[in-house]
Amino acid sequence: MNDRRLTDAQIASALRAHLPAAAPVETRRILLSAVEVTAQQRPLLPVFGWLSNPPIDRRRSMVLLVVLLLAALLAGLVASGTWRVIKPHHIGNGWIAYSTDRPQPGLTDATTGSDIYLVREGGLPTLIAGRDGGATRNACPSFSPDGTKLAYGVGSASGRWIVVREANADGVNREITRITVPGDGWPVCVRWSADGARLAYLEGEAEVVRRLDGSTSTPSPGDPGPAVFATGPDVRSPSGDRTVEFICGELIVKRPDGTDTRFYFDVCPGSFAGWSPDGTTILFLEDVGGYDQEFTMHAFDVDRGVGSVVVSAVKANSSRSMPDWRDLSWQQVVS
């Protein structure tokens, strides 16, 4: 078998010849006429995001809408004498840790660095590991299964480490241990063993298992398997009995027997899912406005079909400060 290498020009030329340069004339005509029809179909009130993040030019109409709604509500009260408030779902308030970047050896701009933040329902993100002016990358936060420790990878020009810190109901505190990882620059992505005694990460394609004293161990039952590190559209629940995939406006919960449940949202791109430790609730992030400027974190109970906003419209101001969609870790609630 040849070790075939293609140049950029070869690929570009071949794909330009292979892919359609334009939509067929008839298709184009149909699509453009569909634009007219499409344009008549914008709903008066896009369900949920519009209310939470109204564009500036619609604020006046929103005020009017609120006045009308209040008037209608008052009329309803007078007519019926009772009314019901639907309470938002409370997610339990374990801490959620996220990184602002994901290490991709040799491919991400090494000068930006990355941070780790903690946040929980009703609060604002708190920085717990900073990028040191761009010299340090902090990535892949991972709470231990019992929620008492948080591990993450640190990388800089002077070396690489796995940092393990104490966690409790108040947040993340002192450093418990710092395990040196060979090499420099790019932090490793760690995951916990089921008993919380070991940490695993990938070095190339090989899995490395380290005990908390820094010694190396051979992979054994209970250690994270390769599937834990797999990147793909599906995210497995902690017990592995179902996966979730988030695509534009649609959340799909899949079961091993091939069946699935679908939920529809008025939240589109820039979203991704992470499971709660008890496997009932998923987190997803909404890139508000679609341009890495601010985000909202949602929680959704897939068994009960109810959701809540964990934190709303947090300013990020650039992609460097946006959470990495794939790198959320949710703490088991601890007393």
């Binding site: 078998m1 040849n2 075939r4 290498r5 293609l6 950029d8 070869q10 690929i11 570009a12 030329s13 071949a14 794909l15 010849a17 292979h18 892919l19 359609p20 939509a23 298709t27 184009r28 149909i30 699509l31 453009l32 569909a34 634009v35 007219e36 499409t38 344009a39 179909q41 914008r42 709903p43 896009p46 995001g49 519009w50 993040n53 564009p55 030019d57 619609r58 970047d101 994901r102 991709q104 491919l107 991400t108 695509i247 534009c248 649609e250 589109c268 791109p269 820039g270 979203s271 890139d287 508000v288 406005g289 679609g290 341009y291 890495d292 400027q293 992609s319 946006m322 969609w325 794939r326």
Partner: protein
């Protein structure tokens, strides 16, 4: 895998175009159908190519774009930064194509021409022993071979290659289109390229 450098004139034209587009996006956001029509008309072929690269099928690509346009119109008021329109629209098209692909199941449609039925034409070229003699026929055969290898890739890999090599979209914009961090987009582009090369090896 860098983008070709732009001349000053090209850059100025691009800026002027971007400014005009931002005005159109603002108008369309307020419900101006004509502005939406202008925005979409200029991008239709590119969107079609992106959907086609994921679905490998004319009618599915057209259906996906129709859904994407409806979705784009509905969600346009939520787009806060008009300059992000291109990446935003691409993202909706890519998502719509992914959904179309998912809804039609795991069946993979491979055009007849890609099944090797034309081996009699291509075999003499692929079997050439003189690696340094690149005739037009060689180049055509190679292009054909890359095309067939492309069809064998995963949809996500095809999409990222089409966006980068055919539409010459910047990696940061590709990242937004595919809802992934920039670093991940670079990595996926690298992986897709390697997958294309491996698929070509398998063809040989």
């Amino acid at each position: 895998m860098s983008n070709p450098p732009q001349s000053v004139e090209t850059a100025a034209t691009t800026l002027a175009q971007a400014s005009a587009d931002e005005g159109l996006v603002r108008q369309a956001r307020l419900g101006d159908v004509g502005s939406f029509d202008i925005l979409v008309t200029g991008r239709l072929d590119r969107c079609y190519r992106l959907a086609w690269s994921i679905l490998l099928n004319d009618s599915d690509a057209a259906d996906a774009i129709q859904d994407a346009l409806l979705s784009a119109w509905k969600q346009l008021p939520r787009l806060r930064d008009p300059s992000a329109f291109d990446a935003w629209l691409n993202r909706i098209v890519a998502n719509s194509a992914r959904m179309a692909r998912r809804s039609r199941g795991r069946v993979r449609e491979i055009p007849v021409a890609s099944l090797g039925l034309d081996d009699t034409e291509t075999a003499p070229h692929t079997r050439r022993e003189d690696q340094f003699a690149h005739t037009d026929a060689d180049r055509l055969a190679e292009r054909d071979s890359i095309g067939r290898a492309f069809d064998r890739l995963r949809a996500e890999e095809r999409a990222i290659l089409a966006l980068h090599y055919v539409d010459e979209r910047p990696v940061a914009e590709i990242a937004r289109t595919l809802s992934i961090p920039t670093g991940t987009a670079k990595w996926r582009l690298h992986v897709a390229r390697r997958a294309l090369e491996r698929a070509m090896e398998a063809e040989a």
